[in-house]
């Protein structure tokens, strides 16, 4: 696409009023729901309550005390968790790409779990297993003083939660390494180990760095696990919440949020623009030929053993929660009970209905918005396009708690008095979910020749007809995976919306949190189980609907384009 002069551009846009409106609307919503709130955090952190400029809040944080501790704690935790996750993920990815082992489907499936899982599941299971009355700590090992609450617990829980993210990155990378180089190395007489160290490992460094940084960001932004199992080990996301919601110290909360945001953005920028650009993926011009998989020897058994036991551990963690939801008092009175479900259905109905309704509303908005933005970015030229792209993509790196505090700061007075309404919760859902939709939309559109759209326009269709009649059907897989992702993310959202729930709207995740806080692990487990069941049923229904709506043009799509099948919305 060639550069067009601004004036010509404007003239062209003026001829397409619908497109112009669309661009303005998208720009306006990005501004109102992303740029402006972030600006508000910055402002609040620098101005004290009486309106005078001061850096007092930052001084307070950096001069030591519990706020600084929270910051350093988070960094230490993220550092350790990212290393462990990357190592585990590499073992998984290597095993799948290089070794002939059974159960590869299972290992792959493990990678999906954290995406659809509510934020508490692993932490709750860790308490059931390793807490004071924990199954392993107390009954198997007979420990009297086991303490899962704190750094150790967090490392365990976060590693299990986030290694799949690293796995997705590394699996893709290892798959794309051409075996030719490794074969050459071995033909020249290098041992397997030598080949691994001097060929495979160097080729995968960008992927390792990438995976490391993505986990780092996730760990920093994590809210649910530290709230559940952090104990006295305070972390920054949790401290932002305690400052803002617990003691209404907005300036302290906002300054912490600014620091967290800055760190995250820097890490994200390194990942995106520096590491992300370095690709040592070997281009041979030929499709990667099949790799001869390692089929015997101690390596195979060891790697399979590691992957298998880790997968079983993860699955065990997920199964424990439903089991825990039927136990009267874990470790004290292990009899079967339905009391926790009675409690949820008697007292928690509203949260379930609210969560479901709000997610259902946010889903199509996020799905459609993602496709529209992707379409604008790939197919159209207009002033501010780069900004739109940057803002919408960077928003993926905004930690949920930062977005949450930004929203209460921005939308508590006229003209945007939205706190306490459904709108603000839906907006948070959409903003959190839309970047993934945009990304898969862009990837899809780039593989589709624009001539089909041109043909539609030449035949007299207007912009909206072309978009709904041609573009959307063509990028259907991306669109629907965007819908699914939005729904799942909204149902399990917590870190941002925990700031936004009000007397009028309550959410399941917030109810789980309050149960966890008051130590009712059984009720929390029951909520989690119900949430998982609702999600599974909804995903099945959504899937069925896709079949119903998607069937008629499936064949056409396959004929006319390289169908961008299997868009996975999973990677960060």
């Amino acid at each position: 696409m060639g550069r067009v002069k601004p004036i010509q551009e404007l003239k062209r846009l003026a001829r397409e009023p619908l497109l112009l409106t669309c661009i303005i609307l998208v720009m306006a919503s990005l501004f109102v729901f992303i740029v402006y709130p972030l600006f508000q955090i910055g402002r609040t952190s620098f101005f004290s309550v009486d309106g005078s400029f001061s850096v007092a809040a930052y001084k307070r944080i950096l001069s030591g005390g519990n706020l600084l501790t929270a910051l350093t704690n988070s960094l230490v935790l993220a550092f350790i968790v990212s290393i462990l996750s990357t190592i585990i993920a590499y073992i998984f990815a290597y095993t799948i790409a290089y070794i002939n082992v059974p159960l590869k489907k299972l290992f792959n499936g493990i990678a999906i779990l954290p995406v659809i899982s509510p934020p508490f599941v692993i932490a709750l299971s860790a308490i059931l297993l390793f807490g004071r009355q924990g199954f392993i700590s107390n009954h198997l090992l007979g420990l009297q003083n086991a303490n899962i609450y704190g750094l150790n617990g967090l490392i365990l829980v976060q590693t299990l939660t986030y290694f799949p993210i690293a796995f997705l990155v590394l699996a893709g990378l290892l798959r794309s390494i051409s075996p030719a180089l490794e074969e050459a190395s071995e033909n020249l007489g290098a041992s397997k180990l030598k080949t691994f160290i001097s060929v495979t490992l160097p080729l995968s460094t960008p992927g390792i760095a990438n995976a490391y940084l993505l986990v780092f960001i996730q760990s920093l932004a994590d809210f649910g696990n530290p709230m559940t199992i952090g104990g006295n080990y305070t972390t920054v996301a949790r401290e932002i919440y305690l400052q803002a919601v617990g003691s209404y110290d907005m300036q302290a909360g906002a300054s912490l949020a600014m620091l967290l945001l800055t760190i995250t953005m820097v890490v994200y920028a390194i990942q995106k623009f520096w590491v992300g650009k370095r690709s040592y993926v070997t281009v041979t011009g030929k499709p990667t030929s099949g790799r001869k998989l390692i089929d015997s020897g101690w390596l195979k058994h060891m790697m399979f053993g590691i992957c298998f036991s880790l997968s079983v551990t993860v699955i065990l963690f997920y199964i424990l929660v439903p089991i825990g939801s039927f136990i009267q008092l874990w470790g004290i009175n292990n009899s079967f009970t339905l009391d926790h479900y009675k409690y949820v259905f008697n007292l928690g109905q509203k949260a379930i209905v609210d969560t479901f309704t709000l997610s259902l509303i946010a889903t199509p908005i996020a799905g459609l918005l993602g496709m529209i933005i992707a379409f604008l970015i790939v197919r159209k030229n207009f002033i501010g396009k780069k900004t739109m792209e940057l803002v919408s993509m960077l928003s993926i790196a905004i930690p949920g708690t930062v977005l949450g505090i930004a929203y209460i700061l921005s939308f508590n007075k006229a003209p945007l008095a939205l706190t306490g309404t459904a709108v603000i919760i839906i907006a948070a859902f959409v903003v959190r979910a839309v970047p993934v939709g945009i990304r898969s939309g862009i990837a899809s559109l780039q593989q589709i020749d624009p001539s089909i759209e041109e043909a539609s326009t030449n035949l007299g269709a207007n912009q909206s007809q072309t978009f709904f009649g041609i573009v959307l059907p063509l990028i259907k897989p991306a669109f629907f995976s965007g819908l699914v992702y939005s729904f799942v993310k909204s149902m399990t959202a917590m870190s941002a919306v925990i700031f936004l729930i009000s007397a009028r709207y309550n959410l399941i995740t917030a109810s789980i949190l309050s149960q966890v806080e008051s130590g009712r692990i059984g009720v929390a487990s029951a909520y989690c189980t119900i949430l998982i069941i609702i999600m599974i049923i909804s995903l099945l229904i959504l899937n069925g609907m896709l079949r119903l709506f998607g069937g008629e043009y499936d064949k056409k799509t396959k004929k006319t384009t390289n169908n961008p099948a299997g868009q996975k919305p999973l990677s960060m």
Partner: protein
């Protein structure tokens, strides 16, 4: 395709409209300091009896105060329902409450309500030591029955209580100790106690659960909260009243200054003082003493006349809340 997609969206938006379109007789937003099960059952009953639709948020008492303070220019809620009156007193002097003397407050003895009508007591509960019997046996300790007992080295890392910044329970403990021992001695005591405390929780009742689970050995908390845990199945809990004397809370209800829905708020407060409303608690496993003279308190409740309570001054406790908490924070750091 287009029609189907549009149809799909029409469906979603219809859902949206349906979910927003309900209207009722009146609306009311309440900030609740009670236990969640108690609160929900009480509010459901109120809604049924009056047709007023109530939204509520449950928070710890300090959080409610912080939120009301933050919202004072445009209050979202009209009623503050439950939690120790000390925090209500502080809110009264900060101008955050509106005086309202309900016709039903004639059923409430004078010692359980604000003379100017800013808050009215709905229940009473006293502070107790709550320990885990099997843990005590393991360590070889007797059941603690005095404040002094908690300073023993065996209790290191095994005492739990809440953080007085967020928890009304914890502030009641702090104010009790200051009134019992005098300020300097009380802070000496708390400093020594701090050595034994594992962690300060946000909510006042949580320590009881952690003692029940065996995670800590002893909690300082309200006796009625511990009783609730005992009934839930934590049979190892032992509740004792410290022999030096203990303090008590008056759980209160109040109207928030400049809140919306004034009439509905009055209706709610009138209702909350009735015999029927107060007796809801014992049916949901909450065992406070009731303030309405005609209401029948749960038989399990700890009657103030039967235990050694100090002459707890709630007005004094409220007035000094900010200062004492600040000193406590300095000390704990």
């Amino acid at each position: 395709m287009k029609k189907r997609v549009l149809g799909l969206f029409a469906l979603f938006f219809a859902l949206l409209l349906v979910s927003c379109g309900r209207e009722d007789k009146g609306e009311l937003t309440v900030y609740v300091g009670l236990y969640e099960d108690h609160a929900i059952r009480a509010i459901e009953t109120f809604e049924k009896e009056t047709g007023i639709k109530v939204s509520h948020v449950r928070m710890s008492n300090g959080e409610i105060l912080a939120r009301i303070r933050a919202e004072q220019n445009a209050p979202k809620a009209s009623v503050w329902y439950g939690g120790p009156s000390d925090t209500f007193v502080q809110a009264k002097y900060e101008g955050l409450l509106k005086s309202y003397t309900s016709p039903n407050s004639s059923f409430i003895p004078d010692i359980y309500k604000d003379p100017e009508g800013y808050w009215t007591g709905i229940y009473v509960g006293s502070i107790a030591l709550v320990s885990n019997r099997s843990w005590l046996q393991d360590v070889g300790l007797d059941i603690p029955n005095s404040w002094e007992d908690l300073l023993k080295p065996e209790y290191k890392g095994m005492v739990s209580m809440a953080d007085p910044r967020s928890s009304g329970t914890a502030y009641t403990i702090l104010a009790t100790l200051v009134q019992l021992m005098g300020e300097e001695e009380a802070f000496d005591y708390l400093e020594k106690l701090n050595e034994n405390v594992r962690s300060y929780t946000t909510s006042g009742s949580v320590p009881g659960r952690s003692v029940g689970m065996g995670e800590t050995g002893v909690a300082i908390m309200f006796a009625h909260d511990a009783l609730k845990f005992f009934k839930e199945g934590f049979r190892d809990l032992v509740i004792t009243i410290p022999k030096e004397g203990t303090g008590y809370e008056i759980g209160a209800v109040a109207m928030i200054s400049n809140g919306p829905d004034l009439e509905a708020a009055k209706t709610f407060i009138d209702w909350s003082l009735t015999k029927q409303a107060q007796e809801i608690g014992k049916h949901t496993g909450n065992f406070q003493l009731l303030t309405n003279e005609t209401a029948i308190s749960p038989e399990e409740a700890f009657y103030l006349t039967e235990i050694n309570v100090i002459d707890y001054d709630h007005n004094w406790a409220g007035l000094n809340r900010a200062i004492l908490i600040e000193r406590w924070v300095e000390m704990v750091k």
